[in-house]
């Protein structure tokens, strides 16, 4: 067992989701080195056999940049973070990202709480473990985590926490809460 673990590199995926401008990029950047990862999957995935591009001069692919971060836990054990566009039209990307993912962080802004509804719905339906991190923006009215839980109609076991994604310590706490939640989900399933 030990030798197997030490030989096979392990790569884990964590998704960072939430509405536009809610702090996904900031969270990834707070806990890891961040790089933009380009995809042009709108054309490649959806356009085949449908889009006739002959003679069309306009841009037909949508370049989507995901925030991509990497945390090396040790040699051979790496956690990859993917900050995904929150809009529903990008769900085809989520399908791939959530496959085999360790879990997801849904960032919420209490001023625009509805923005994170699609993310919450998505992970609930997929059975992907997730935590809700309420990003405490300056000037945003503080709500208790219980209020947020009720507003989002979350199951009791889904962790909800307040955070400031600009702060590394706070961002770390969010990541740790997610992995602990994934671990609990795993052990309760066995």
């Amino acid at each position: 067992m030990d030798s197997v673990l030490s030989e096979d590199p392990v790569a884990l995926k964590i998704l960072i989701a939430g509405g536009f401008g809610v702090g996904k990029t900031t969270l990834v950047g707070s806990v890891s080195e961040i790089k933009p990862l380009r995809t042009e999957e709108v054309l490649s995935d959806r356009g085949i056999g449908i889009d006739d591009l002959d003679g069309v001069e306009a841009k037909n692919t949508t370049t989507v940049a995901m925030d991509f971060g990497r945390i090396t836990i040790r040699d051979g054990l790496v956690v990859y973070l993917f900050g995904t566009p929150g809009q529903e039209r990008f769900w085809f990307m989520w399908d791939e990202l959530s496959y085999g993912a360790l879990g997801a962080v849904v960032i919420a802004d209490t001023r625009r709480l509805t923005d994170c509804f699609p993310s919450v719905d998505y992970f609930e339906q997929r059975g992907t473990p997730f935590v809700v991190a309420v990003n405490c923006f300056d000037g945003a009215a503080r709500h208790s985590v219980d209020d947020v839980r009720i507003a989002l109609d979350l199951d009791d076991d889904v962790p909800v926490m307040l955070c400031d994604v600009r702060r590394r310590a706070s961002a770390k706490e969010v990541m740790i809460a997610l992995v602990e939640h994934s671990l609990r989900t795993l052990t309760s399933a066995n």
Binding site: L5, D8, P9, V10, A11, L12, K13, V31, K35, P36, L37, R38, T39, E40, E41, L43, S44, D45, I48, T63, F68, R70, I71, I73, R74, L77, V78, V79, Y80, F82, E96, L97, Y99, G100, A101, L102, R168, K172, M175, I176, V179, E180, S182, L183, L186, T187
Partner: protein, 120 residues
């Protein structure tokens, strides 16, 4: 570079569109590559490879993820996947899928990740 032709600036877009590199294909042969699958160069590199494929083989001398390769080559993931498919067909890379280890369901690994995050 001041001596490069000025109409080849960033506004003009890439001189070679990404999908021209892969001759218009949008899917790789065989299974698709997970974003976090680990790629490693194997075997002897033949001389007739394209520059992007040579770059991939160079970057994958030690194992590297598909996503990291896309960042390193500054190419869309879809393009990198097609290039990887060609290299795999030629037996020049080995690809380890992350799900093979079942890491998500490994309690010990998750505990290790938690401790690792605390130590960041």
């Amino acid at each position: 570079m001041s001596d490069s032709p000025r109409w080849f600036d960033e506004d003009a877009g890439p001189v070679v569109r990404p999908y021209a590199l892969i001759r218009g294909r949008t899917r790789s042969s065989g299974d698709t590559f997970d974003l976090v699958a680990s790629v490693r160069a194997i075997g002897e590199s033949p001389g007739e490879l394209g520059p992007e494929q040579q770059l991939i083989l160079r970057a994958a001398r030690s194992p590297i993820s598909v996503a990291d390769l896309a960042v390193e080559l500054d190419l869309p993931v879809g393009v990198v996947r097609v290039l990887l498919g060609d290299l795999r067909d030629q037996g020049l890379i080995s690809v380890t899928s992350p799900s093979a280890g079942g890491a998500r369901s490994n309690e010990r690994i998750l505990k290790e990740v938690i401790n690792g995050l605390r130590a960041l």
